[in-house]
């Protein structure tokens, strides 16, 4: 029984193309539960696809008992972010540490990307990459506000930074913190 009361129907269903063509009382319990015994008694020993061969470093979830048959080979772990990713994969998908380390690695990877660009003699056009042209075309007001806010932050940061510089350096702590 549904909670619908007749007079609340604002759309005349007979006017809706295809109304109820897929109605089926057996749709409950529905997919995916409905299909749960399609494969009775199956263990992990299914007929496997051929296994992809590759020399690229693939980080693997420790919840897998073996490497899946296919995988992507782009962008293997590299640099500092790669080192962090390798550590992350010591923890299961159920462990927060796994995801926190990966997020940290992602942020460091962005810096590595800029360094890589510069190394190739390419200065990344960051406003361009962020779609400034679309912003200019469709949201001039938003763009102006953003530029003003960025400028204010820039000035503020500069003021703060130049004041800090004149103080005595604080004793350094030996805690390494991931920038998240």
């Amino acid at each position: 029984m549904n909670a619908l009361t007749g007079n609340k129907t604002l759309v005349d269903t007979s006017s809706v193309t295809g109304w109820a063509v897929d109605a089926d009382p057996r749709n409950d319990p529905t997919y995916p539960y409905r299909e749960r015994d399609k494969d009775p008694g199956l263990t992990s020993n299914w007929q496997r696809p051929p296994v992809q061969q590759s020399n690229v470093e693939i980080l693997q979830s420790i919840e897998h008992i073996r490497r899946p048959a296919v995988f992507g080979t782009a962008n293997p772990p590299s640099g500092v972010s790669g080192m962090i990713r390798r550590v992350a994969f010591r923890y299961s998908e159920s462990n927060w540490m796994h995801w926190l380390l990966l997020m940290g690695a992602d942020r460091i990877n962005v810096v590595e990307g800029v360094v890589e660009d510069l190394g190739r003699g390419k200065v990344p056009n960051i406003p361009g990459e962020m779609g400034v042209r679309a912003e200019w075309k469709h949201n001039k007001k938003g763009l102006a506000t953003k530029v003003a806010v960025m400028a204010a932050i820039g000035v503020g940061a500069y003021a703060l930074f130049s004041r800090r510089r004149t103080r005595q350096p604080a004793p350094s702590k030996s805690v390494t913190r991931l920038e998240l």
Binding site: A3, L10, D39, W46, I58, H64, T73, L102, P124
Partner: protein
């Protein structure tokens, strides 16, 4: 070849990249003719998905022409026009046998919780995606599907993801004739969920969003009753009042972790990343469905955890159903629906953008500029 290149949160560009090659006997190489940007890509673009490496090419909604096939692909040949489901599925593992093609166990070393997805970070297998001139398609003999002659490629490309996802959202709702269905999100997925709810026999379809132009579109495309959640005091009270105090029979979350609409969730999820995105839409879904009702979740969240009222799920006796859409499973039925004119996916396409302008395309779709609903990228080689 030209391909989209991720450089960091909110930063993408096109790059000249190496041509993909056959790496497995069941691979194919596809020359991409159309490739969409999806709401799911926004989670990557916003830096919300762990293990999104710089240099990744996004894109999991594409169709094109087969260029080359691996030794074991006997059902496709060069020149075939195919649409490529976003899930990379072997078709024969424990999960694929149950029709769980979004949960294949043979396509993603980096995680067990999700199967391989094109261009969707290393957490989804580390595959390069289809926002490029060419793409490697693993298990092409199972996934890639011939586009019928009569079908418009604009419809075909939408069948790779948002159409099946919206349809499955309605299907998982276990909708019975006459049911009241409330859908959160009027993006392409929510729009297709609204359209599909009627096919399952819904009696009333209600859509919430805060973008007026999308609500306006949903009003006729569903058709649906549409409400701007910024203009109602309390979404849940509103839903109770409009259903004689009971709540909807079925609630669908077609928003996911990039939601708007709650300062606390925004702070914890979006900004501080203490939870896996802003879960306010799911919160509303749980609280506005009736006791014993069904909440169907297709909105995507990160892998850690979210703040949702799970106690109410217990006390109300709710059933939660969710998944990545199992595209291949639904294609035959959906192709029928397109043919019969019951669904018209291409009506959602608002922008066609050359692949070269990828940065502007992402920004426009992310910031919802120029009344954008669904942007399609057209590579030069197409």
């Amino acid at each position: 070849m030209l391909a989209m290149d991720y450089r960091g949160p909110y930063r993408v560009r096109v790059e000249e990249k190496k041509m993909p090659r056959i790496e497995h006997p069941r691979d194919a190489i596809v020359r991409v003719t159309r490739s969409c940007i999806c709401g799911s890509d926004l989670h990557l673009y916003h830096g919300m998905v762990p293990d999104t490496r710089v240099g990744t090419t996004f894109g999991h909604e594409f169709c094109g022409i087969v260029e080359e096939v691996g030794d074991e692909v006997t059902n496709l040949k060069a020149g075939d026009h195919v649409l490529v489901p976003f899930n990379i599925a072997c078709g024969q593992c424990h999960f694929c046998k149950q029709g769980l093609f979004g949960n294949c166990h043979e396509s993603n070393p980096q995680a067990t919780a999700v199967g391989g997805i094109f261009g969707y970070s290393h957490t989804a297998g580390g595959f390069q995606g289809g926002q490029a001139e060419y793409a490697r398609v693993p298990y092409a003999d199972f996934g890639a599907t011939l586009i019928p002659d009569w079908m418009d490629p604009d419809d075909a490309v939408l069948l790779t993801d948002v159409v099946p996802t919206g349809y499955q959202a309605a299907e998982m709702g276990g909708i019975q004739k006459g049911d009241t269905v409330v859908i959160f999100g009027a993006g392409p997925v929510g729009l297709m969920a609204a359209r599909s709810a009627w096919l399952f026999g819904a009696g009333r379809v209600i859509v919430f969003d805060h973008l007026e132009y999308r609500l306006e579109f949903a009003r006729t495309f569903g058709p649906a009753e549409v409400y701007n959640f910024k203009e109602v005091d309390d979404v849940v009270v509103f839903m109770k009042k409009t259903t004689d105090g009971l709540g909807a029979d079925v609630a669908i979350d077609a928003v996911g972790g990039d939601a708007a609409g709650n300062a606390l969730q925004w702070l914890f999820g979006t900004k501080l990343k203490l939870e896996a995105g802003n879960a306010i839409a799911l919160h509303w879904a749980i609280n506005s469905v009736k006791k014993g009702g069904i909440v169907s979740i297709v909105g995507v969240y990160g892998p850690t955890g979210n703040i949702v009222p799970i106690g109410n799920v217990v006390n109300k006796g709710l059933t939660l159903r969710a998944n990545q859409a199992s595209v291949k499973r639904l294609l035959p039925r959906l192709i029928d629906h397109v043919k019969a004119g019951r669904i018209n996916p291409k009506a959602m396409i608002t922008h066609r953008i050359p692949l070269e302008d990828i940065a502007d395309a992402y920004h426009m779709f992310s910031a919802k500029l120029d009344n954008c609903i669904k942007p399609v990228l057209i590579p030069n080689a197409a």
